[in-house]
Symmetry: C2
Subunit: 459 residues, 2 copies
């Protein structure tokens, strides 16, 4: 089919002001956080559920691939138009439709920025807990599609735990509603959670109702230096076994520390520091005090070199700068980085870190930096490499070994970034053939022509 005919048809369906087709425009939608480049044939910016339905009905008839896109901040290629076709950009569907404090719910369009929802909820002293690192720019629609996690996972769970109901447009353009806007509902199969984490391959969300909880009164932060990763991991374990669930419990390894030392550093990190824990405690005022004191006691017992507390927002921000600096700082080691996203049962963290170090010995030209959400076992492994195919292939081989070891230890190859087209070749390491076939059968059931985000999740 000629592109011009398609553009004409789409102009008629959703209005030409919502159709972008110049090369300059299309280039802006060829990327996401995974740094691939696939130029779509056209970019559509629907303004309503009906627009989305019109587009899908047409695309399904014409068998044109459709890729829903929030902010394009995903790290596994979820929104990349891998096989050309239509990118559906949700920039214009970004309204918070309602926040009902009495019901502890909010209903939003998919293009709402995660942090915008958090901020609006906070005005009612309410809290939307899922907090991916991208919260300041990623969208709720994307978060639901990927089942995003983030730093609050240990205490508050992940996106799936907060989704009550969805309006979904199916591949053929029909509009369905899953779940109810109630805190409990068990009427038939849980279609809501079938769509959560389905990475845009089963249907496209047009309205999302989330559960909110009371906003914690207070947050305090501790940055703790250790001489060994063992001391840091042991401290994390003891904090939890002392009945404390921190809002955040972040681990930073030696390589990551080395990187940030040369980088913006209001906080001085002494030479002997080989591991850091960054801990947020939230809750009622009295409680936070008690828990922070107990944590200080625990880390001292585990040979902490120093614990730096922050009492106000500005001090907290300074401590968190240490964590936030890592990702950009890693590029001072090498120009290329592959960011992995494994999650293991917490009891296996030292084992997986030790296995990664051993694997690294066989790839001496690559550098590895690990940091992440140690509270829930979700470690971000960064493989840093130089330019060139040879280095890239080495890095990919190393990742393959790490992922196989992760699965061997009962872990998962993706804690929170999803599979997309970046990890689809590894999916079979973890998901056996029959389970994969069930997923593919469900995909075929809901999208028989395979127009929704083709090339994602499955090979």
């Amino acid at each position: 089919m000629k592109t011009t005919i398609m553009i004409d048809a789409l102009n008629r369906l959703i209005g030409k002001e919502n159709v972008l087709y110049t090369l300059e425009d299309r280039l802006c939608y060829a990327y996401d956080g995974s740094k691939q480049k696939h130029i779509p044939d056209v970019v559509l910016r629907p303004r309503s559920t009906q627009h989305v339905s019109n587009i899908l009905q047409y695309a399904n008839e014409q068998e044109i691939p459709v890729y829903p896109r929030g902010a394009g901040s995903g790290l596994t290629g979820g929104s990349v138009p891998a096989q050309g076709g239509i990118v559906m950009d949700f920039t214009h569907m970004n309204r918070i439709l309602e926040i009902i404090p009495e019901d502890l719910t909010a209903t939003v369009e998919p293009g709402v920025i995660t942090q915008t929802l958090q901020n609006e909820a906070a005005k009612y002293k309410l809290f939307y807990p899922p907090d991916p690192a991208s919260a300041a720019f990623s969208t709720i629609g994307g978060n639901v599609a990927e089942c995003s996690g983030g730093i609050t996972g240990l205490k508050y769970g992940v996106t799936r735990d907060y989704i009550l109901s969805l309006e979904v447009v199916l591949a053929d353009g029909s509009i369905i509603h899953t779940g109810r806007k109630t805190l409990k509902s068990v009427t038939g199969y849980d279609l809501t959670r079938l769509f959560v984490g389905s990475e845009g391959t089963l249907g496209i969300f047009t309205q999302i109702t989330v559960k909110l909880i009371p906003l914690p009164e207070k947050i305090e932060t501790l940055l703790v230096f250790f001489a060994t990763p063992q001391d840091a991991v042991q401290s994390a374990t003891q904090i939890i076994s002392n009945n404390i669930l921190p809002r955040a419990l972040e681990f930073i390894d030696k390589s990551s520390i080395d990187c940030i030392k040369g980088y913006k550093q209001e906080i001085q990190i002494p030479e002997e520091v080989n591991a850091i824990l960054l801990i947020d405690i939230d809750g009622k005022d009295a409680n936070v005090k008690t828990e922070v004191s107990l944590i200080e006691k625990i880390v001292v017992e585990n040979h902490a070199l120093k614990a730096i507390p922050a009492k106000d927002v500005k001090e907290r921000d300074t401590l968190w700068e240490v964590r936030r600096a890592i990702s950009p700082a890693l590029y001072t080691i090498a120009p290329f980085k592959i960011n992995e996203d494994i999650c293991v049962p917490r009891s296996r963290i030292l084992e997986i870190l030790s296995r990664i170090a051993n694997i690294n010995k066989r790839y001496p030209s690559l550098k590895v930096a690990n940091f992440g959400h140690i509270g829930d076992g979700n470690i971000h492994i960064n493989i840093l490499h130089e330019e060139g195919d040879q280095q890239r292939i080495l890095a990919e081989n190393m990742i393959e070994e790490i992922l196989r070891n992760t699965v061997e230890l009962g872990g998962t190859i993706s804690g929170e970034h999803g599979i997309g087209n970046v990890k689809s070749r590894y999916l079979s390491f973890e998901v056996p053939p029959q389970e994969l076939q069930i997923m593919k059968d469900i995909k075929h059931l809901l999208d028989p022509k395979g127009i929704l985000n083709p090339g994602k999740i499955f090979l």
Copy 2:
């Protein structure tokens, strides 16, 4: 097929000590909490995943219906052998396979009693929060099949929020594993939650890994008397808008109060009391004190007639006796009771209670008593009626009206009891045809011959 041939085959497959076929034995498995009677052809008591697999492979070949059964305490007929065939009783698969405090997980067989898991977890100062009223005798397998809720739903969520991974035997006898034993995992579609709440119609669980959380240090209880339901509901709303999520927030209406007055009563309920709230607050010691004080202030501001606190386990038990007495006490009003399980957004509670009262006016021979989990909008409506078809039909007509009104207010026809064969005729009130068709298609995909719990959920 002759029953004797089937019995011989099953004896060979799982050992004759695990096969019950006398009428006396089979009669014990003809019932559940919904008081239907359907006698199965045979009762099997598997001792391993392999047994379950052997049975299903055989049943699928022979097209014999199979009904998984935990304690048979479900209220919507989930475990009743509605079309004859095999009841699969999980009495022998009741082992807690592991509790790993460091990982905050437990892996259990489906026949474990919910309270047994709660008690074992408590030995490690850990907590499995879902707490259906049946926890002392219902099984985890049944809880997962129905996605049970209970009194802790507002603060802690429901069963689905605690299931990390499942071992499932499919209709054809094949054994699959869903999810991972990690706190995060996003690898493909969420098959785990597709099975949670599927009421035994998609597969049979043989191992269940649950997430645990730290055990709250302390629980305090308040029983509060009000002159009007408005005051009680208003208090509940203000408690939540003051950033308190009680562990339990139970509502008891005038009819229920009248019943328990003549029943075991250590607590004297004055004549002018027309509504009661029963409130549990849990957490750290200091916190519980603060929240209880704030709640006492709120209920006084909302014209509470009296607030009775309980400081220890024995006193708590006395207060909770008031709530526990309702169900049996209702039979003092009429010999028959239909227990409904609606859930509405909390802001619609007064509206639904008022509509129920109005509907009741058109059914003067029926008495209605309402109580339940007001915190999450989940109200148990009890329609009390005399013997006889005419009374039963009136009660059913009244229920139909209540359910239609519930859906109209954005509520759900089942908060936590499931659909089974008791509510399947009402499912279409809430779930539109296309969503129902998707569910049926998924059912057909996983159980093409329809042997798993036939007659449940769908008409």
